[in-house]
């Protein structure tokens, strides 16, 4: 009998010490695509979170509490992302959500978050409509698709001055909205959109569509693709010797180092829109880039910078919130005004967007097998190469 009491007492003690311990940390669950086609990006984001997490906890965490992240794999599928979000809110009672990568997944999570009145910070999903639906609880750190190519467009209208453009895009949420916004922006600047063609992700052979592009002979070929399609496209453009004044990519696939690794010399001189580069002069940007490189062998893409900065935004909001409830955290997020490695972060509602962070975007060019920032010129790390040599004249 005495043994039983002792055991029960021991149990009580453990439970009590566990709850006591739980008060000393804030555990947050993060949905990310860790397997499947988008896992590359999920992995970049996770690695960046871990770097940010370490720094935040080294500085005493959030108001003295240790921050802990648990990852859930959504496989890049909206239905799985949705059920993870439901679990996080309904079962785990977590008062704030963030992450996910593809626009389709972010849209699904945003819908759940709005329905359950839980703030959700989107970090790298670009489809415009996510913050255009009058959602009160959805915030977004990255500029939207419509603003992605601001930097690129600046370069185009100041330097390239093209008359016509052909747009190729993958038939996803991200690809479609990127292509639509680009077409709108080009027409507004008086360029003619000669073609706007979509393709199914994972296609083997782009030559049929590329021969059409060749026949149309546009000044600019603009492509919105994830990484492997981006490399295949440029390789096959080289094969067909399609000459244009400018080959331009809309972020994602064109802006990460793997693009150059896979497309090799076909990637030279390709210009891509991007949101961030390791060379930007924002406070902490360079340190983060170097830290990431030291740990994982190469520089992070803008996805990494967004993820890294987003955790600081979350930690900042959590340290200012009155209580750990959804509405208080939402108010704290609304009042955000801070400097991060991604630049100044402030959530505004304008131009039809709600709780959207508007940031300046850049253009990169592959020069000598490396991504260099070329636009806006105040951030440039190298002088742009223009006009680019024709394929025939390259060695």
């Amino acid at each position: 009998m005495r043994k039983w009491i002792a055991l029960a007492a021991a149990c009580c003690m453990t439970v009590m010490s566990m709850t006591a311990f739980a008060q000393d940390k804030i555990e947050l669950t993060v949905p990310l695509p860790l397997t499947g086609g988008q896992a590359k990006f999920g992995e970049i984001i996770k690695k960046s979170y871990d770097i940010a997490l370490e720094e935040i906890n080294a500085k005493g965490g959030v108001n003295g509490k240790l921050l802990v992240l648990n990852y859930e794999d959504s496989q890049g599928k909206p239905e799985i992302a949705r059920s993870i979000a439901e679990k996080i809110i309904d079962v785990q009672k977590q008062p704030v959500l963030f992450a996910e990568y593809t626009s389709a997944c972010a849209k699904a999570v945003a819908a759940v978050a709005e329905e359950r009145k839980t703030p959700y910070l989107v970090i790298a999903s670009a489809a415009d409509e996510i913050t255009q639906q009058n959602y009160k609880y959805v915030f977004r750190l990255n500029p939207t698709n419509a603003y992605y190519s601001e930097g690129l467009l600046g370069f185009m209208s100041d330097v390239v001055k093209p008359q016509s453009v052909a747009i190729l895009y993958e038939s996803s949420d991200f690809g479609t909205s990127g292509a639509d916004e680009m077409a709108k922006a080009c027409e507004a600047k008086g360029m003619k959109v000669l073609m706007k063609e979509k393709y199914e992700k994972g296609a083997v052979d782009f030559k049929p569509i590329l021969s059409q592009v060749k026949a149309a002979n546009p000044d600019v070929i603009f492509m919105v693709s994830y990484v492997m399609d981006a490399a295949l496209l440029m390789r096959q453009i080289k094969e067909l010797r399609i000459d244009a004044k400018l080959f331009a990519g809309g972020a994602a696939g064109f802006a990460i180092p793997e693009f150059i690794d896979n497309a090799k010399d076909a990637s030279e001189y390709v210009v891509t829109a991007t949101l961030w580069s390791p060379q930007v002069p924002f406070k902490g940007a360079k340190e983060f880039a170097e830290k990431y490189k030291a740990a994982h062998g190469n520089y992070p893409s803008y996805h990494g910078a967004l993820a890294y900065s987003s955790l600081f935004v979350i930690a900042d909001a959590l340290s200012r919130t009155k209580a750990m409830t959804a509405d208080d955290i939402r108010d704290a997020l609304l009042a955000t005004n801070m400097q991060t490695a991604f630049g100044d972060v402030k959530f505004e509602s304008k131009n039809g967007y709600q709780n959207q962070n508007f940031a300046e975007t850049l253009a990169l060019q592959v020069i000598g097998g490396k991504h260099e920032t070329i636009w806006p010129e105040k951030y440039a790390s190298a002088k742009y190469v223009f006009p680019i040599p024709k394929w025939r004249e390259r060695k």
Binding site: K207, P208, I209, S211, A231, R241, E258
Partner: protein, 300 residues
């Protein structure tokens, strides 16, 4: 023109994928829905050969297919044969089994190799020959991609080898006999179960060849298999179940048809075209291309 060239080159590779499945279907009446996953495994072998020992993917043709042959033999012997013997309420256990094997392979690949996209950055990946280099005043510019053309030629060579094997060697004849009539072949002294094992190995080896040929022009990730299983299945249906020549023609037709759809309708429509032709073949030409060939021969 360029479209036609691209379509034929693609079709040649498709044909090689289709033949392996057709062979298995013809001899064993098994729909091998793990075909694309076997190709994925072969591609990973070729990829690692390149990464670790800098063996060109084309040289992996001597490495990956034998390994896949062994894997195919193992699968047939220890998984498929036992399942075929079991009496069960489902007559098509093997279909479920092959889907299951495919899923296992795909997930194993995800665990071991992560779901990263990979490609072998061979130096000649984007080299090409240009008509205008040889003939300056050419009215139409056509370019032939080096890796695509090499892959196509090798695919034709492998197909010829296979034909030679089936037509001339004893084992090949036994395989064909098994395909025609299992019981009769058994009465004639053919070791049918052995032939089935060999055939599955052969089918796996063929798709492994296709994998090696695809690697220089495409990229690689664990989920790639299902896409190619589907293509192989469409080709098999299109070609007429179990006919090797039908599969070759089916592959070419599909390749050209996809390229044409991509050019004249829109690239997003290529998969739609694939399934349109699949349904059309089922409805209007249930015997596939093979039945056309047969009827021509009969009337002669």
């Amino acid at each position: 023109m360029q479209t036609l060239v691209a379509g034929i080159l693609l079709g040649g590779l498709y044909a090689l994928i289709g033949i392996g499945m057709t062979l298995i279907l013809g001899v064993m009446k098994i729909i091998n829905l793990t075909h694309g996953q076997l190709m994925m495994v072969a591609m990973y072998i070729a990829f690692w050969m390149f990464e670790l020992f800098h063996i060109d993917p084309y040289l992996s043709l001597f490495i990956a297919p034998p390994l896949l042959f062994a894997l195919g033999v193992g699968l047939q012997k220890y998984l498929i044969n036992p399942v075929l013997k079991v009496e069960s309420i489902l007559p098509h256990n093997q279909v479920i089994l092959t889907v299951g094997i495919g899923l296992v392979l795909q997930n194993l690949a995800t665990i071991f190799f992560t779901s990263d996209y990979r490609s072998t950055p061979v130096d000649y990946a984007s080299s090409a020959w240009y008509l205008s280099d040889l003939w300056a005043g050419t009215p139409v510019e056509i370019s032939l991609s080096l890796p695509w053309t090499v892959s196509f030629c090798l695919s034709v060579a492998i197909t010829l080898l296979l034909w030679f094997f089936l037509a001339k060697t004893d084992t090949g004849k036994s395989i064909r006999a098994t395909a025609q009539d299992k019981d009769a072949a058994m009465l004639m002294g053919v070791n049918v179960s052995r032939m089935q094992v060999i055939t599955f190995g052969l089918g796996a080896a063929l798709v492994a060849c296709a994998g090696c040929l695809f690697l220089p022009i495409y990229y690689l990730f664990p989920a790639l298999g299902s896409q190619f299983t589907l293509i192989a299945f469409v080709i098999t249906i299109l070609g007429g179940l179990g006919s090797t020549i039908g599969a070759i023609l089916g592959g070419l037709i599909l390749g050209v048809f996809e390229s044409m759809t991509a050019t004249y309708v829109g690239m997003g429509w290529a998969p739609v075209g694939r399934f349109a032709i699949f349904v059309a073949a089922l409805v209007f030409l249930p015997g596939g291309v093979a039945s056309l060939l047969k009827s021509k021969k009969l009337t002669k």
